[in-house]
Amino acid sequence: MKYVAAVGLEVHVQLKTRSKMFCACPVEFGAEPNTHTCPVCLGLPGALPVMNHEALRMTVLTGLMLGCDIAPICKFDRKNYFYPDMPKNYQISQYDMPLCTNGSVSLHDLAYPKDAQKNIVTPDKEVHLVRIHLEEDVAKSFHFENSTGIDFNRAGTPLMEIVTQPEINSPEEAFAFLTSLKQILIYGGVSDAEMEKGQLRCDCNISVRPEKQAGLGVKIEIKNMNSISGVRRALAYEIQRQISALETGEKLEQETRGWDDAAGETFLMRTKEFAHDYRYFPDPDLVPVTTEVLLADVRSRVPELPKAKRARFVQQYQVSAYDAGVLANDLVLARYFEAAAKGAKKPKNVANWILNDLQNALSGAGKTISDCPIPPEALDELVNLIDSGKISGKQGKEVFAEMFATGKRAAAIVKEKGIKQLSDLSAIEALCDEVISANPKAAADFKAGNVAPLNFLKGQVMKLSKGKANPQLAGEILERKLKS
């Protein structure tokens, strides 16, 4: 029997605010434990929360970027549970009146894992969202042998929860969804979305059913995934586990599972009988929020999104759709490209240099585009030197290596090393004459109508000039001479 999987994600995103959600303690990753706390985020009696205006704006901005409906009015509720990471014994969240509903994320080809880009089942798939709400994060727990240690620096920091419809049908689609979402969050400046720093965390709801069955199968949750590739691995494992269970006639029950990345398997955390009952109710300490003013504040902050940027790069700079995709995948890379392509005669060549030589050099040196030793306008200068015929492509590579190593500008290196392309017509003509008389057979072949020897002869001219001749000119001159 054929089975289909339906996966819904709950993605938690740490917002890039400077202070916490309901108090003014600083938000800082990696600070000494319990150095950013106050009566509000420690849950001391009598302390009152006050909403962070910017966190609300960022959530509305995210809603706009993802095409959500922004609720005219929303409120905060208390989610009650007992756990030492939440000293008030409730988490302030949004229950029935979230900030945003609906919306979607479209899955671009290049957002899929590299090995899966060749066979994408549903190209340009849209994954619809249920809602986006704002809540406070909980403290960080450290589990020791006989005790648990708690650091409240993270407690009360703004956390945005994005919930999808169960429309994701494969581990690869989940990977593409998270990659696409992460890009948009970075574009909007609402989060750095680094999973290894816990800025993006994800719970997955998975159900499997026979293809012909209407309605979803039994929902099983995997909690707290902290890498995009981990989500892919966990889903691959869990979907197969559920299919095997159904095939052997086992009845699946609603449950919550964890993912052990080292062992490569999911494990049972709790069954339905121990499901939480959070007893939500409106938080009387916080008044409702009307979103009209928030919307007005952030409309102008909606950036050009990856999809639009890709289309514009193709149109404005004549780069291929693939190259546009790679460039727009990374906002810093896209900005570098635009800065370099601005003054370029052939922006497409600038893209080629970035995506090949520059990317290779960066990865070879263990650097990223953010700490690239060649400023974009310097790369543009190099490409223009080549495109205008002043130096050859081969010489360009040499100059590039020097630029990357020393940070010097192309023009300075060219001058210093005496690199120039031989574009002097009479000099190249002399070289061509020499090559033709040294290779009478090749010359005769070409005259007889065989075009292949031309490249050979051109190669000889280049060799004779020690790579300094302008190859295009050499080709033209040879052809003219042989045809006359």
Partner: protein, 96 residues
Amino acid sequence: MARDSDLDVAYVARLARLNLTKAETELFQKQLGDVLKYVEKLRELNVSGVEAAAHGVPIFNVFREDAPRDWFTAEEALSNAPRQTDGLFIVPKVVE
């Protein structure tokens, strides 16, 4: 009228991590049941013309700007902690 089934004291006690004796459970069931019945009085009021609201006062949008300030030092934050190690609050081992 509030029905007994609206309030299951044993279940609520379990959610609140309270260990009640059978006698306490019965006592609180009756006492809290009386409270619910008293609150039921509100149903007698005609609210057909009143818009539902989560809050009693028509105040909206009480915000603070996103400006950080320091408050407690780690020592101050931990000063009431029964146990602490390396700047962390120490609690009985929890698993999730």
